[in-house]
């Protein structure tokens, strides 16, 4: 029971909800600010994401009569809970690599599917054809990026010989970070591209393309539920790069200078994402799937072959 209480604390406060969400909001400010600077604008003030969220929280909630009401309300809550769980697992293992369990990455990979799934669910239950169209695009995109992403992650599994995140982090403590190896750099590039799609950033924001299908799955969401989705998306911006850092870049440590180093690694990845986002147009869904199943998978296979050759 004591243990459960600690887990609940972890879930709600430190690596879980409170930490990830506030960090995520800061990151979404960084995102908007850097984008604005690239576009020669000033950008929003620091607390803008918080203001947006608080405002949405106090707005009216509109539920269309044709929507499947329970699913419509449940979808964003399920999404944010799973992201919180993801953050909790990642955080606990990063804090204490010994605290692992075999095969936890599989759990993490599957938990990573739930946030897109909740978006899809929201789009489908809203009853709006644009929502359904956006959701169907999200499914297709998911089909696209899963293959190379799994290939890239599996490359790490086989280098380390384990599917436990803690062991991968410990391996990197002993043998140096994964990114020292050429094969891992290739795999890392692949996973950055998949990260772009997982975060639904341009050029892969196809599911919520605002000028085509008007934010797709989110079109019917308003007020608090929209706030939950926005929060979920900014939490994803923390969790997914954190996962990549953990398996490719030696994880994060929360002691002394480790914090700074961890933040720097994180900012590097997120800056890369923002740069890609701001220098590309959105591509079509079939182009995206072809891109992922074609070139990216090829590159991921090259990474795998390099890994088996020992590089």
């Amino acid at each position: 029971m004591d243990n459960l209480f600690l887990y609940v604390i972890a879930f709600l406060i430190f690596p879980g909800f409170l930490f990830t969400s506030s960090f995520g909001l800061i990151v979404s400010w960084i995102d908007r600010k850097v984008s604005a600077l690239i576009q020669w604008r000033v950008g929003p003030p620091f607390f803008q994401p918080f203001y947006d969220l608080l405002k949405l929280w106090h707005k009216e909630l509109i539920i269309p009569a044709t929507a499947k009401k329970n699913g419509f309300i449940l979808a964003p809550l399920l999404g944010i809970s799973s992201v919180t769980l993801l953050a909790t697992i990642l955080g606990i293992i990063n804090l204490n690599p010994e605290y692992q369990f075999i095969g936890d990455i599989i759990v993490i990979l599957y938990l990573m599917i739930i946030p897109p799934l909740s978006i899809v669910w929201g789009g489908f239950t809203s009853g709006n054809p644009f929502g359904a169209l956006g959701a169907s695009r999200e499914i297709k995109l998911m089909m696209g990026y899963e293959l190379p992403f799994i290939l890239a992650i599996v490359t790490v599994f086989f280098k380390v010989g384990s599917i436990s995140l803690g062991e991968i982090i410990q391996y990197q403590h002993v043998h140096g970070v994964m990114l020292n190896l050429p094969s891992m750099i290739v795999a890392f590039i692949v996973s950055i591209l998949c990260l772009q799609a997982k975060l639904a950033q341009v050029p892969f924001d196809i599911s919520e393309a605002e000028c085509e299908i008007m934010e797709g799955p989110f079109i019917e969401y308003s007020g608090p539920l929209l706030a939950v989705y926005k929060l979920m998306q900014s939490m994803l911006q923390v969790v997914f790069p954190w996962f990549l850092i953990s398996i490719f870049w030696g994880g994060t440590s929360f002691q002394g200078w480790g914090i700074l180093w961890a933040v720097l690694k994180y900012i590097f990845i997120i800056t890369l994402v923002i740069l890609i986002k701001n220098t590309n147009p959105r591509i079509r869904i079939d182009q995206a799937v072809k891109f992922f199943w074609g070139w990216v998978t090829l590159v991921a296979l090259i990474a795998m072959i390099l890994m088996f050759m020992g590089y």
């Binding site: 699913g71 809203s126 009853g127 008007m214």
Partner: protein, 624 residues
């Protein structure tokens, strides 16, 4: 307890129901239900019994001993429970499903007979008994499928019988070869070290029979037509659950118990290649389907691939995962077929594009279908996730480039499965309501304003609950059912898969998610949002007829068809070019044509053939 009572109960039930007419409503149903309930009761009692043997001597022909040998041990124990459970639920479901439809009076007796012969397979300790019961199940499958409507059902039944019969002949050959080569066909006495060609041949023949029953590529093609045209409860009963259990049972039994393989036999590789091909081929066909039953039937094929991958990995966790997946698959696939049947019962169609928006009117069916669909896609915390996870883990432990590729295929197949089931859920239950006026044909009545009857709801709810329970408390079925089968100590396997001991604990994670959801709901409830329901959707401000706005689920993945290689594969697959039935019938046709040419009616031609045949025979007899 006498083991034979387990055959007698369903056999007696079958005999009684066979005598009854369909005219007295629900009588056959009630008796069949009572019979399977009693069977389930005995199966549960048998679970706590010690392992035991039973031998009923019959007659001997020279060295072949035609006695009836039975053996009760862990594998059969837990299979018996699920055989009973599935029969019970199927009978209950059939009672609702055939309330307004006509069905042959042989349907319920045959279901009970199937249970009886399946019990014989499970309990057999003798390949002779197993073979007879195996043939019986095939025959009953043929009859049950043929009870569907019209000629297509007969064709589908014929196809199923052709493929399964062909593979049963393979099993027959293997079983005949056993006493000749090894002097016995008692399973526990056999320990065959695979090495010489004969043992390999025997194994391959048995393996063929097993995977044909389970429905792995390339012997899968009987499942889709049977699923589409057969009576739905029978489909949920046999191809979706029982045949999988039996096929995988035979496969696991011969692979684990009877045959011993040298380490570098390459057999694992063969099994895993078949498994990988089954996953990829099945899932690619699956996402293209626009008919609910054929989508589910292809999914039934796909999931066999996971089982083969798990068992083929040779790793204890993989084997445990494979067997657990077999069980899970039977559970959620029956649940899916049942919910599709409920939809069909209400709407009289299973075409994805003619359905839509049923979630509000059929909430129970929707929930059951959603749970089973998420479970089959391997979403935590449902049961499909646990077994898939165990399979993945065994693949990672393989640590070769091939097992890595199989891991990728398995995980990718899982993502595609999710995609196809989201399509199913959207097309059937979410999305827009299908207009009722459009059915000009009075026979097609849209009666979807209420949920299925309770006899149909209870099986669905039971199976959906099993999906959740086996996911949340996965350690229980693994400890109780699976671990003894592969001979691992209970403590050993739980330590090595670490379910329930380490941080990841499905129960804990689910608790956390539920706490999150609860907090969300509390906040939602107490902050007293102004909630307003509006009539209209925002579709650009114009008022439209929502019926035209429906996005058709069948076209979700049409872009795959437009790609060159993959699209070509999918198109050709859809036409049945990879169907071994078609291929062999084409080859047969060629053979017939050749024979036709030889068969020209001239006496001298026949005579010359006779002489040539004699010469060949002489040559063989003299020289060999």
């Amino acid at each position: 307890m006498n083991l034979l009572i387990l055959f007698y109960i369903p056999a007696i039930t079958a005999a009684i129901t066979l005598l009854l007419s369909r005219r007295i409503k629900y009588l056959q149903e009630i008796i069949s239900f009572a019979g399977s309930l009693v069977f389930l009761n005995y199966a549960l009692r048998a679970f706590s019994l010690r392992d035991q043997f039973l031998k009923i001597s019959w007659f001997n022909i020279s060295f072949i001993d035609f006695s009836l040998d039975f053996r009760l041990y862990h594998f059969s124990k837990f299979l018996l429970i699920f055989l009973g459970l599935f029969t019970l639920l199927t009978v209950l479901y059939s009672a609702g499903y055939f309330r307004q439809r006509k069905i042959s009076r042989f349907y319920f007796p045959f279901i009970s007979l199937t249970l009886s012969s399946a019990t014989a397979i499970v309990l057999a300790n003798n390949f002779f008994v197993l073979l007879v019961a195996w043939e019986l199940v095939t025959l009953l499958l043929f009859f049950l499928i043929a009870m569907g409507e019209g000629k297509p059902a007969a064709m589908a039944a014929g196809k199923a019988f052709a493929i399964l019969g062909f593979t049963d002949v393979a099993l027959l050959l293997a079983v005949i070869a056993l006493p000749i080569a090894y002097n016995t066909w008692i399973i526990t006495d056999l320990k065959i070290l695979v090495g010489n060609p004969l043992s390999v041949a025997i194994y391959v023949l048995m393996f063929t029979a097993a995977i044909a029953k389970a429905g792995a590529i390339p012997l899968h093609s009987w499942i889709p037509p049977a699923a589409v045209h057969g009576p739905l409860p029978a489909v949920a009963f046999l191809p979706a659950s029982l045949d999988k259990l039996l096929g995988v049972y035979l496969f696991a039994r011969i692979t684990l118990d009877v045959f011993e393989f040298p380490i570098d036999s390459g057999l694992n590789m063969m099994i895993m290649i078949i498994g990988g091909a089954t996953i990829l081929g099945g899932v690619l066909m699956q996402i293209m389907q626009s008919e609910l039953k054929s989508l589910l039937s292809y999914c039934a094929i796909t999931q066999v691939g996971y089982i083969l991958l798990g068992i083929g990995s040779g790793h204890p966790i993989g084997i445990a995962g494979g067997i657990f997946h077999m069980l899970n698959h039977a559970i959620y696939k029956s649940c899916l077929f049942f919910s599709v049947g409920a939809v069909e019962d209400r709407t009289k169609t299973t075409q994805l594009d003619k359905l839509g928006g049923l979630a509000t009117s059929m909430p129970v069916t929707f929930m059951a279908c959603a749970v089973a669909a998420l479970s089959v896609s391997g979403i935590p915390p449902f049961n499909g996730f646990v077994s898939k996870w165990m399979i993945y883990q065994s693949l990672v432990d393989g640590r070769s480039i091939s097992s890595m590729l199989f891991l990728v295929i398995a995980m990718f197949g899982s993502a595609l499965t999710l995609a196809s089931f989201l399509k199913l859920l959207y097309g059937t239950f979410l999305g827009q309501h299908q207009p009722s006026e459009k059915s000009a044909d009075p026979a097609i009545q849209f009666n979807a304003n209420r949920d299925a009857t309770w006899t149909m709801r209870i099986p669905m709810i039971t199976l959906a609950l099993l999906c959740i329970i086996f996911g949340l408390f996965a350690s229980y079925p693994i400890k109780q059912f699976i671990a003894p089968v592969i001979g691992l100590e209970t403590a050993g396997i739980t330590a090595s898969i670490s379910i329930g001991t380490a941080l990841w604990n499905p129960t804990l994670a689910t608790t956390l998610i539920i706490i999150g959801l609860l907090i969300g709901f509390l906040v939602y409830y107490f902050s007293r949002f102004k909630v307003r329901e509006v009539e209209t959707l925002f579709i650009g401000g114009e008022k439209f007829d929502l019926e035209n706005e429906k996005l058709f689920a069948s076209k979700f993945f049409e872009f795959i068809e437009r790609t060159k290689i993959l699209g070509g594969f999918v198109r050709e697959g859809g036409k049945g070019i990879f169907d071994i039935y078609n291929i062999s019938s084409d080859l047969g046709l060629i053979g017939v044509n050749v024979l036709k040419k030889l068969h020209d009616g001239i006496l001298s031609t026949y005579l010359s053939w006779c002489i040539i045949g004699l010469g060949v025979l002489c040559f063989i007899l003299m020289v060999m």
